[in-house]
């Protein structure tokens, strides 16, 4: 009897197995077709609108590979790295633990946008909020690519490289320590993300294939991060078009104003930490060393795109506090360097 029923079910099941592939193929075809159909056209937008689109897209296209890499690494860390292996290398003492985590960027030199999905993955794996924040703030500065490009741009001579590394490490760890003072660290996470963490704990005994769980995690992570990336990029593009860079760059030599101006610039240009040293060098104005250090420390930690991305994970209040504290310390660092000269 079983034998006679089997062929009747099989075709239906096969059809439902392949329907998703057909649906996705159709979606892909529509997207590719749309691009090819519209590629010949010319649209005359006003310069400002055209540049807003171009600038926003360049941030998206630049960041996307790093976000994908971050999502993939985060998924691998969550599913394939065993617990004992992962937590064995981390010291138990809080200060040392955060110190080690802030050096994680040396192993994973992903740009700052890729660090957000990775940090989310680490929190799901059991990292605390202060630890994740320390990693997020420190990793873009304390990674080999950033350090090499900064040395290429400025050399070791005037201390800019040293202060960037040292300042980044100290501020990230101080903010991390500050967040441990919070009575309920988990309350600094958005409710959605807390739910995702809980769902993961529940999922741990999920018997389904790890690869298919990984694929689902990738799409879920994309749904969390990509809307923020697009909004952040659009904001960065909009500010670029709306605010004349001259206003900020013009304050170059002033020991106090230049520090604040370059921090504001770092906030709005939302640039990858890997190349920001060349950028500030090419601005053409003679900036005070304190201002350059402030730019190079503040930019990788906080900018308009990073805040949009971090908002997927942390509450607005937490980000406000972190931004305020980081800004204060970076400003103090920059001003201190200028005064000590």
């Amino acid at each position: 009897m079983v034998l006679t029923r089997e062929p009747a079910i099989a075709p239906a099941r096969r059809r439902s197995r392949w329907r998703p592939v057909l649906v996705l193929g159709a979606v892909l075809l529509v997207l590719v077709g749309l691009r090819i159909a519209t590629s010949g056209g010319t649209v005359s937008l006003t310069n400002a609108v055209q540049d807003f689109v171009t600038l926003s897209l360049s941030v998206v296209i630049e960041s996307l590979p790093f976000v994908i890499l971050g999502v993939l690494i985060s998924t691998v860390v969550q599913l394939w790295v065993p617990d004992r292996w992962f937590f064995a290398i981390l010291p138990r003492n809080g200060v040392l633990r955060r110190g080690v985590l802030s050096l994680l960027g040396v192993l994973l030199p992903v740009c700052e946008c890729g660090n957000v999905p990775l940090a989310r993955g680490l929190v799901v794996r059991g990292l605390s909020v202060p630890e994740a924040m320390t990693f997020l703030l420190a990793a873009p500065i304390l990674n080999p690519i950033t350090i090499v490009t900064t040395v290429q741009a400025f050399g070791w001579g005037d201390g800019i490289v040293v202060w960037r590394i040292l300042g980044g490490f100290l501020i990230a760890n101080f903010v991390g320590w500050l967040l441990t003072r919070h009575p309920h660290p988990d309350a600094m996470l958005t409710p959605d993300f807390q739910a995702a963490c809980a769902a993961h704990a529940h999922d741990a005994d999920d018997r389904t294939h790890r690869l298919s769980r990984g694929a689902r995690m990738v799409t879920a992570e994309m749904s969390a991060v990509l809307p923020a990336l697009f909004v952040g990029s659009a904001l960065a593009g909009l500010i670029q078009v709306a605010i004349s860079r001259e206003v900020l760059v013009g304050l170059g030599g002033d020991p106090v104003l230049s520090v604040l101006a370059l921090m504001a610039l770092a906030f709005v240009v939302a640039m990858c930490s890997n190349v920001d040293a060349f950028f500030v060098l090419s601005l053409g104005s003679t900036f005070s060393p304190g201002a350059i250090v402030a730019f190079l420390v503040f930019g990788p930690m906080i900018d308009v795109k990073m805040l949009a991305l971090m908002r997927t994970t942390f509450t607005a209040r937490t980000l406000l506090i972190v931004t305020g504290v980081v800004a204060l310390f970076v400003a103090a660092l920059g001003l201190g360097l200028n005064l000590a000269r």
């Binding site: 439902s16 998703p20 809307p227 090419s282």
Partner: protein, 258 residues
Amino acid sequence: MARWIGPLLALVAVVATLWLAATGKLSLYIHPRYTVFAVVMAVLGGVAVLGGCVVMLRRDARPHHHEGEHTHAHDADEIGPGLLRRPRLLRSLTVGRVLIVVGALTALLVLPPAALTSATAQSRALATSADALTAGSPQLVGGDTSQFSVKDWASLLRSGGESAVAGKTVEVSGYLLDNGDADVVYVARLMVTCCAVDAQPVGIPVYLPDWAKDHKVNSWVKLTGRFQQNPSGSGAVPVVVVPAELASIAEPDQPYVY
């Protein structure tokens, strides 16, 4: 919608990136050194997202996969906890998501790719630091100057000074940039270090008395000429290109230098 926005945005961006790379236009947005990385990650990301979508669709199609507490987990997946009780917030979130998808679709797949307009270029100061200009470029002194770009000349001028360029013949194209001198105009290009956001003009000075009378700022030109001492005797710009020919051209397909 909430579950599908990520895969949808990812596929839109992946298709756009691969198409730009295939048509050679990716460098309008990012430095060419990132092309391979961007393409590899786009393919990997695309495959992972498509795989995830297949898994999600198959789970949804299975009639009995939601049992007990799983039903609740699915709801939380879809709209997040707490939102069920706040329909207005839920509605505005959905509207926001639709706007993001429509915006991304329009910008990435409908509008034709474009370089930065010169209007933005004009509002940015000329890059003058020799270090920034020479970073990553090959040995310029004694190089074959017939292939030199605006950026090569600018960096040679900055690092080597007058003696490095004096008497040399120049053949470059670029747009006209006003640097506040009535008799000297700059032939410039936007230099990109990472992506179009950091684009910064680099240029070389051209001696053209009363240039503003016959030429429009931002217009593209092909310049042939020779580096000489500035005939106007201005100390600020000691050496300039005295043009043999300055012809108007259309904006090239690849307007940046790297």
